[in-house]
């Protein structure tokens, strides 16, 4: 068992990505398998299958970022919108299986940890991270520590009684429903018919298409309203935007988002609003999970 490297796992809705991570947060080796979504047992076996090829040199510890809210006292997964995780002690089951310390945290919290330690938030004591992918995830660093609450920032109401969420969330007008890749898909379909996607929307915006630019500015507008809200709650030094859609569309979302966040934010934070792109891309979850695993080793000592 080596404490020089650990295994991080990024459990996504479609794939499980595992990687060997060194103490500097570098990904040394990776292995990816599809996410089994038929049952919790299958899901556990999928995670084991993603990890095993990397276990040859010894597993110092395991860290997992999972798309679920957690019971902070036990580490149990309590419920996920897209995959079978309902009151599931993934942490205990994996600790038993591999005989090493296991840390489990919400995937967006884990991404926030990575961006804070090694990405766009280096040196900050307070930041908010929003990942705009299929859905919207959120993480918060507060007073120099990862906030370990739910921080389901994608599920705050921005437009009361607005468009519905997907999956098991019954909410209306949540940030996820108005500023995710899915929301951009719907905006594209509204403009160009069924099958049009967020990718097309961003592509057209890059070509200067005014309707595409307007649609993305509209999404940026609502994103900015949420960023303003989070500033008033957490007073972060900066807001980091990640996720596939968030990164791809950033140049079209950020100017309007900045303007609205400025309008919504209280003095004196509004003067210094910073909205920046995440730097670690799709590796943020993996790297954050690795950092978490190193923390788990430190705590065992």
């Amino acid at each position: 068992v080596s404490a020089k490297q650990v295994i991080g796992v990024d459990l996504g809705g479609t794939k499980i990505l595992a990687g060997s991570i060194d103490v500097d947060g570098r990904v040394l080796e990776r292995h990816e398998v599809p996410t089994p979504t038929s049952s919790q047992e299958e899901l556990l076996e999928g995670i084991v299958a993603a990890i095993e090829p990397l276990a040859g040199t010894g597993i110092g510890a395991l860290g997992l970022g999972i798309p679920s809210v957690l019971d902070r006292s036990t580490g149990r997964a309590l419920g996920s919108i897209n995959i079978p995780l309902t009151d599931f002690a993934l942490n205990d089951l994996l600790a038993e299986r591999f005989g090493v310390p296991v840390a489990v945290e919400n995937d967006a919290n884990v991404a926030a940890l990575a961006e804070w330690k090694l990405g766009a938030g280096r040196g900050a004591d307070n930041l908010v991270l929003l990942t705009l992918g299929t859905g919207v995830g959120g993480g918060v660093v507060f007073d120099g520590a990862l906030y370990r609450g739910w921080a389901e920032l994608g599920h705050v109401v921005v437009v009361a009684d607005g468009p519905p969420c997907q999956g098991t969330c019954t909410g209306r007008g949540h940030l996820e429903a108005v500023a995710s890749g899915n929301a951009a898909d719907r905006a594209a379909e509204k403009l160009w018919g069924e099958g049009a996607t967020a990718e097309l929307l961003v592509g057209r915006a890059e070509e200067g298409d005014p309707t595409a630019l307007e649609a993305l500015a509209g999404i940026g507008h609502l994103l900015g309203a949420a960023i303003g809200s989070f500033i008033n709650v957490f007073s972060p030094e900066l807001t980091v935007i990640g996720g596939g859609f968030g990164i791809a569309a950033s140049e079209f979302l950020f100017p309007e988002a900045h303007e609205v966040a400025y309008r919504e934010a209280l003095e004196p934070a509004r003067a210094g609003i910073r909205i920046v792109k995440a730097e670690l891309g799709s590796d943020a979850g993996l790297i954050g999970a690795g950092l978490l695993a190193f923390e788990a080793i430190a705590q065992e000592r």
Copy 2:
């Protein structure tokens, strides 16, 4: 100098309320003066004038709840929406004046501390407090500790591009603009013309007036949307509603608020949503400030 009692100060927009508080959070004696709003110097003298008649038996420490965001590293008041507090080191100035430890905290955070220790939130490790008065204040207890961030929960966007805030806040559709006593005043004026108030609205609702009941249910609807958002961010065990308007209108606001919060909240929290009235009434700020003062003594040791 006695550590058996301290002085708590609740600095409001219209009055400054000071009280001698014992270790059990009982208010032994109180003194109230109007809030001078002409300048920061006058404001400081007003606070001193509120405290001095209580200083006879010795001041163990001073705690203040103030309507301002704070710089957490220095305790400076950074900016208030209604009274002159802009980059003002109230804590240092009062420590110099009285020669005792001084703790300063946002007024709604202080009220949350009081309700948690001695009021409706006794025994909880996680709670959200919303005070619906003229404006809307917010405080959070997280993992058994008062969250010391801004927690300006009244200034989250609930209705994007909705009604404007008052005072120095330029935001639109904030919780404060749609679910405060002020918002209820406006709803009353819309129904019965200029000069109609939140008080009249609640009075008519008590008489069974259907238009008044509908207007209050509408406010409860948007309050519930915000409560759902806060559940998804903080996963509190309960949400405590205080403030003059919040307490007076609770029976008309809570049923609709509960229904909408249930719709917005993620599993598994939604099943156990609790929305309850604050118990300490208008003393919450004073008592919380006293508790803070005792904490300041403990930290000096």
